[in-house]
Amino acid sequence: MKVSVTVRPRAGILDPQGEALRRSLQGLGYAASDVRAGKVFDLELAATDEREALRLAAQIAERVLSNPLIEEFEVHAPEPVHA
């Protein structure tokens, strides 16, 4: 089952990469006042259902994919879940 995890720097944490990007964008004439750089991970997980896959992905995101001191993560189901 496919699950995506987005990891981004926590608010208030200096993101030198995003800052360098912001300066480059401004150099190109874009009015970018803030850029934050994160990462996206696409996981293919063996799980019985989507709920289980999301739970596993969250566990992996917390243990490995992110460093909770400086980063936060979001777990996304492959398709939007309609209520």
Partner: protein
């Protein structure tokens, strides 16, 4: 009999050979331990050396922290054995949860390769013969050496005297100019500067030997191999 000191080697480590040689120079027996090994070859102390383990994929040190050799390092550390993390090794130890905080890209995003002055914050087994206020010179060479810790972690570091060295001139944006910390118990230490590159006056400084002697002093006093 001289102490046996394990030097870990991950795919992408590049300072392991200098560390092995430095261990020999201070009179101990070095043992190279591959990341996939699950025992430390009877070593009483460990150096986690510098380099770019696993190509710095994900975050520097993050994947190395999950290796079998690090499980053995955790066990030695829990038993009170001395563990020294240098540069990438410092990053590995923070990612492994053996030291608080994390190393981030240098605030100015530039690689720094230079000798830096380090001011001693307190007397410690890691710094035999030195007292607070002394300054030693050891080179840095890194892009991701900006130490960060939460306000709560900083309070704890201060309260239990875990900051051993601060930069005289901060080369990377590290919070409170912190250069070298230990865990709460004191037997695990990490720093970005490279003691193993400062073991011979011919190369500019032999101050790195001080930390290596500190490692050996603790190995001799600590856990039986």
């Amino acid at each position: 009999m001289s102490a046996r000191v394990a030097v870990l080697a991950f795919p992408g480590s590049c300072d392991d050979r200098d560390a092995l040689r430095a261990v020999e120079l201070v009179g101990a027996e070095p043992v190279r331990v591959w990341h996939a090994d699950s025992d430390l070859g009877g070593a009483a102390a460990v150096i986690v050396p510098g380099g770019f383990s696993y190509g710095d994929y994900l975050r520097p040190g993050a994947l190395a922290a999950l290796s079998p050799a690090m499980t053995a390092v955790r066990e030695l550390a829990a038993a009170g054995g001395p563990v020294l993390g240098v540069c990438n090794g410092f990053q590995v130890l923070t990612e492994a949860g053996l030291l608080p905080g994390v190393l981030r890209p240098n605030a100015h995003l530039q690689f720094r390769c230079e000798d830096v002055g380090l001011r001693v914050q307190r007397e410690s087994l890691w710094l035999p013969g030195l007292v607070a206020g002394d300054v030693i010179d050891i080179p840095v060479k890194h892009h991701d050496g900006c130490y960060f810790a939460t306000p709560q972690q900083l309070e704890e570091l201060d309260a239990s005297g875990q900051v051993l060295l601060r930069y005289v001139r901060n080369p990377n944006g590290s919070i409170e100019s912190i250069a070298c910390i230990t865990n709460a118990a004191g037997n695990v230490a990490g720093l970005m500067p490279h003691p193993e590159h400062a073991v011979d006056p011919l190369l500019g400084s032999a101050d790195g030997r001080i930390l290596l002697h500190g490692l050996l002093v603790q190995a001799a006093a600590g856990v039986p191999a």
